[in-house]
C-alpha cells in the first residue's frame, strides 16, 4: 500500500504547491489545479485507507503510520468543507503543506505488526473513539489556522502597511466566524470522543479515568476550547484575544497528540501511538 500512499502524497504536494502559488499570485487557474489535486488526493487516500483496513483486518487508525495518515485524511476532509462553505482559499496555502508532511512521515514510519491491536480494537467503541478525536483535532487545527490568519490580518490593519499577504487573506469577520464554528464542531467531537473513550475503558477495565498524561492534556484542551466558545458567544472576547486562545488550544492539542509519546502512561500501548 506504500505505492498508493506515495501517489496520494504526490497529489497533495501538487495541491500544496499550487495553493501556495495561488496564494501568492491569486490566479484562478492555479487555484483550480490545487482544488482538483486535493480532490484526487482525497479520493485515492480514502481508497488507501479502505484497502489498508481490508488487508490488515483492523480499523486503519492504530499504529503511528496509520494515525498520521488518518489525521492527514481528516484534515483534507475538514479543509474541503471549509473551502466549500467559506471559499477561504488562503487556508489551503497553510494546510496542504502540513498535510503533505504528515503523509510523508506516514510513508517513512514503521508499518508495525499487523496483528497486535486485535484485542484492543475488537470492541466497536475503540475505532469510534479514535475517529471522533482525530476529527476533533482536525477541527481544532482549522481554529488554529483561522486564529493565525486573524492575527496576521489584524496586525496589518493596525499598522496600515498592507503587504501582499493582506490582499490574499479573507475578511476579519469571515475568519472569526470560521474559527468560532470550527471550535464548536471540534469541541462537540472531542466531548463525544472523550465520552466514548471513557465508556470503552469502563467496559474493559472497569474505570473511567486513568490519570495518564494524555487524558489530562485532553481534559485541559477540552476546557480551553469550552472557555473560548463561551467567551466568543458572550462577545466579551472577540478578536485578538480569542485568536490567541485558539493558538494556545492548539498547542495543547499537539501536546495531547504527540507529547504523551514522550511522557508515557496508559495511552501508550507498547510501540504504538494509541488514543
Amino acid at each position: 500500500m506504500r505505492s498508493l500512499l506515495a501517489t496520494v502524497l504526490a497529489a497533495y504536494l501538487i495541491a500544496a504547491i499550487h495553493s501556495i502559488l495561488a496564494f501568492i499570485n491569486k490566479r484562478r487557474s492555479v487555484q483550480r489545479v490545487a482544488e482538483w489535486a486535493t480532490v484526487a488526493g482525497f479520493v485515492l487516500h480514502t481508497v488507501a485507507l479502505v484497502v489498508d483496513w481490508m488487508i490488515d483486518g483492523h480499523y486503519p487508525l492504530f499504529f503511528l503510520r496509520e494515525t498520521l495518515s488518518f489525521l492527514a485524511w481528516a484534515l483534507v476532509a475538514v479543509y474541503a468543507l471549509v473551502l466549500y462553505r467559506y471559499r477561504a482559499q488562503a487556508v489551503g496555502a497553510f494546510t496542504m503543506p502540513l498535510i503533505s508532511v504528515l503523509v510523508f512521515i506516514a510513508l517513512l514510519a514503521n508499518p508495525g505488526p499487523s496483528d497486535a491491536p486485535a484485542t484492543l480494537s475488537a470492541a466497536r467503541l475503540f475505532p469510534i473513539h479514535t475517529t471522533l478525536v482525530i476529527f476533533a483535532y482536525a477541527a481544532f487545527f482549522i481554529v488554529f489556522m483561522a486564529s493565525v490568519m486573524y492575527l496576521l490580518q489584524e496586525r496589518e490593519l493596525r499598522l496600515k502597511t498592507f503587504s501582499a499577504i493582506f490582499h490574499r487573506l479573507p475578511p476579519l469577520t469571515t475568519i472569526n466566524e470560521l474559527a468560532t464554528s470550527s471550535a464548536v464542531v471540534g469541541l462537540t467531537l472531542l466531548t463525544l470522543g472523550i465520552a466514548t473513550g471513557m465508556i470503552w475503558s469502563w467496559n474493559r477495565y472497569g474505570r473511567f479515568w486513568h490519570n495518564d498524561p494524555k487524558e489530562i492534556f485532553a481534559a485541559l484542551t477540552w476546557l480551553v476550547y469550552l472557555v473560548l466558545i463561551i467567551y466568543r458567544s458572550t462577545a466579551e472576547w472577540r478578536g485578538r484575544r480569542a485568536a490567541w486562545l485558539g493558538v494556545l488550544g492548539f498547542a495543547l492539542v499537539l501536546c495531547t497528540l504527540f507529547g504523551t509519546r514522550l511522557l508515557g502512561g496508559y495511552h501508550k500501548f507498547g510501540l504504538i501511538l494509541g488514543f
Binding site: 498592507f162 475578511p171 476579519l172 472577540r238
Partner: protein, 421 residues
C-alpha cells in the same frame, strides 16, 4: 485588408483640443456615415471619451496611406480646426499596432488611472453606435469582439482593478476587509462633506443597508439624507449613532477631536465588541488617534489612506506588466484568426470542388459497372469520397498552415489552384 487607428488621448493632447474633438452619439453616427465610403475607408468606429478620441477603421491594404490621411482630415474637420493642425497631437497605429492599442485601451492599460472600469463600457457603447450606423463590418466586428474577450481576460487574470486607488473607494475596500460583505452594515457620516458623501455612495453601492448622518448644520444633513434615504442624527446624540455604526466616516471642519477614545470604548462595549472601522478624512483630524488603540476598532486617517493608495497604485502597475503579456499574446492570436477568416471558406470550397469532381466521375462511369445494389452503390461513393479526402487532407492542411504563418498578403488558395474556371 488593413486596420488603422488614428486619435488623440490625454497624453498627446491637452483638454482644450480633446474637448473640441469630442463626439456626441448623433455626431458620431453622422460622422461615421460620412467617413465610411465603402471604397477607401471600408469600416469605421469612433471611441470618444473625456480622455481620448480615436477612430478605428479598416481599409484595403494598398490604400492604407490614403485612408490614414482621410481619418486625420476627418478629425481636423470634426474639431473645426485647420487642416494639419492636429499633426503634432495625433498618433497613428496600423495593423498589429492598432489591434494592440485597442486591446490596451479596452483593458484600461492606457487609462489615466490604470484599471479603471469605465473605458470598457465606453468602447462597448462606441461599437453599438457603429453597428447602428452600419459602419462596423466583417473586420471590426471580429476585432471588437476579440477586444471584449481580451479585456475580460485581463480583468479576470490580473489584479489591475483589484485595489482601491481613490480615497472615497478606500472606505469600501477597508469595510470589505473587515466585514466580508457590506450587506447589512450601517454607515455613519459625521460631517457632510463632499468626500464623505462620495464614500457613502460607494458603500451603499457595495451593499451597505443603512446610512446615518450627523452634521452641525441640520439643513445640510437633511438634504443629503433625502438623497440616500438616510436618517439624520442630532450632533448631541452622536454616541447613540456610534453604537449602531459599523463604518464611521468623519469629515467635519471642527478644529478639535469630535470622537474621543472614551466614546469609542463605550460604544464598542454597547456593540458587544463588534468591530468598527473609523475613517477620518478631515484635517485637522477629528478622531483622537488614541481611538486606534482600542481593540476591535480600526482607525485610518488621511495619511494612512494616502499611503495605502500609493502602494495600491504600485500593485496595479505591477499587474499591468502581466496584462501587457496577455495583450501581446492575444494580438498574435487575432492576427492568426484574421488570416484564417480569409482562408477558411476558400479551403472549404476547395474540398467541396474536389468531392464534386469525384461524384461527377462516378456518374460518368456508372453504366459500365452494371447492376448494383443500393448498398454497393453507396459503398462505391463512400470509397471515392474518402479517397479524395484522404489525399487532399494533408495538402489542404499545408495550405492552411501556409496562410497562418505567412506575413504576406498572398492570393487566396482558390485562385492559387485555378479551380474556379
Amino acid at each position: 485588408m488593413s486596420i488603422i487607428l488614428v486619435g488623440v488621448n490625454h497624453k498627446t493632447a491637452p483638454v482644450e483640443i480633446r474637448e473640441r474633438l469630442a463626439f456626441s452619439d448623433e455626431a458620431c453616427a453622422d460622422g461615421l456615415r460620412r467617413l465610411v465610403d465603402g471604397e477607401i475607408v471600408r469600416e469605421g468606429l469612433i471611441v470618444s471619451t473625456c480622455n481620448r478620441v480615436e477612430i478605428l477603421s479598416a481599409t484595403m491594404t494598398e490604400q492604407l496611406e490614403t485612408g490614414a490621411g482621410r481619418l486625420a482630415e476627418f478629425l481636423d474637420a470634426a474639431g473645426r480646426l485647420p487642416n494639419g493642425f492636429l499633426t503634432n497631437h495625433l498618433y497613428r497605429h496600423t495593423n498589429d499596432e492598432a489591434v494592440r492599442h485597442l486591446f490596451r485601451v479596452a483593458s484600461s492599460l492606457d487609462s489615466m488611472v490604470i484599471g479603471e472600469p469605465q473605458v470598457l463600457g465606453q468602447v462597448r457603447h462606441a461599437y453599438s453606435v457603429a453597428v447602428e450606423a452600419g459602419t462596423a463590418g466583417r473586420i471590426l466586428n471580429r476585432l471588437v469582439h476579440h477586444t471584449f474577450r481580451v479585456a475580460k481576460r485581463v480583468r479576470n487574470e490580473t489584479g489591475i482593478a483589484a485595489n482601491a486607488v481613490s480615497i472615497s473607494y478606500m472606505a469600501v475596500e477597508l469595510g470589505k476587509k473587515i466585514f466580508d460583505s457590506l450587506k447589512g452594515c450601517a454607515v455613519l457620516l459625521v460631517g457632510a462633506g463632499e468626500m464623505a458623501e462620495l464614500s457613502a455612495r460607494h458603500l451603499v453601492n457595495a451593499g451597505a443597508s443603512r446610512v446615518l448622518i450627523a452634521n452641525r448644520t441640520e439643513e445640510t444633513a437633511r438634504r443629503l439624507a433625502a438623497e440616500f434615504g438616510a436618517d439624520t442624527v442630532p450632533f448631541e446624540q452622536l454616541d447613540r449613532a456610534l453604537t449602531e455604526a459599523d463604518v464611521v466616516i468623519c469629515s467635519t471642519g471642527a478644529p478639535t477631536y469630535v470622537i474621543t477614545e472614551l466614546q469609542a470604548r463605550r460604544s464598542l462595549g454597547r456593540r458587544r465588541n463588534r468591530p468598527t472601522c473609523f475613517i477620518d478624512i478631515s484635517v485637522p483630524r477629528n478622531i483622537d488617534p488614541a481611538v486606534g488603540k482600542v481593540p476591535n476598532v480600526f482607525l485610518f486617517d488621511i495619511d494612512d489612506l494616502e499611503s495605502v493608495i500609493t502602494s495600491n497604485i504600485r500593485e496595479r502597475e505591477r499587474e499591468a506588466e502581466r496584462a501587457e503579456l496577455i495583450v501581446q499574446s492575444e494580438v498574435m492570436q487575432f492576427q492568426q484568426s484574421l488570416r484564417l477568416m480569409d482562408v477558411g471558406p476558400s479551403i472549404g470550397a476547395l474540398r467541396e470542388k474536389m468531392q464534386e469532381v469525384a461524384r461527377a466521375e462516378l456518374l460518368r462511369q456508372r453504366k459500365r459497372l452494371g447492376a448494383l445494389s443500393t448498398e454497393q452503390e453507396a459503398a462505391i461513393e463512400a470509397l471515392l469520397l474518402s479517397t479524395v479526402n484522404k489525399i487532399s487532407h494533408p495538402i489542404l492542411n499545408q495550405i492552411r498552415r501556409f496562410y497562418e504563418t505567412t506575413e504576406s498578403d498572398a492570393p487566396p488558395p482558390k485562385d492559387l489552384l485555378e479551380l474556379d474556371e
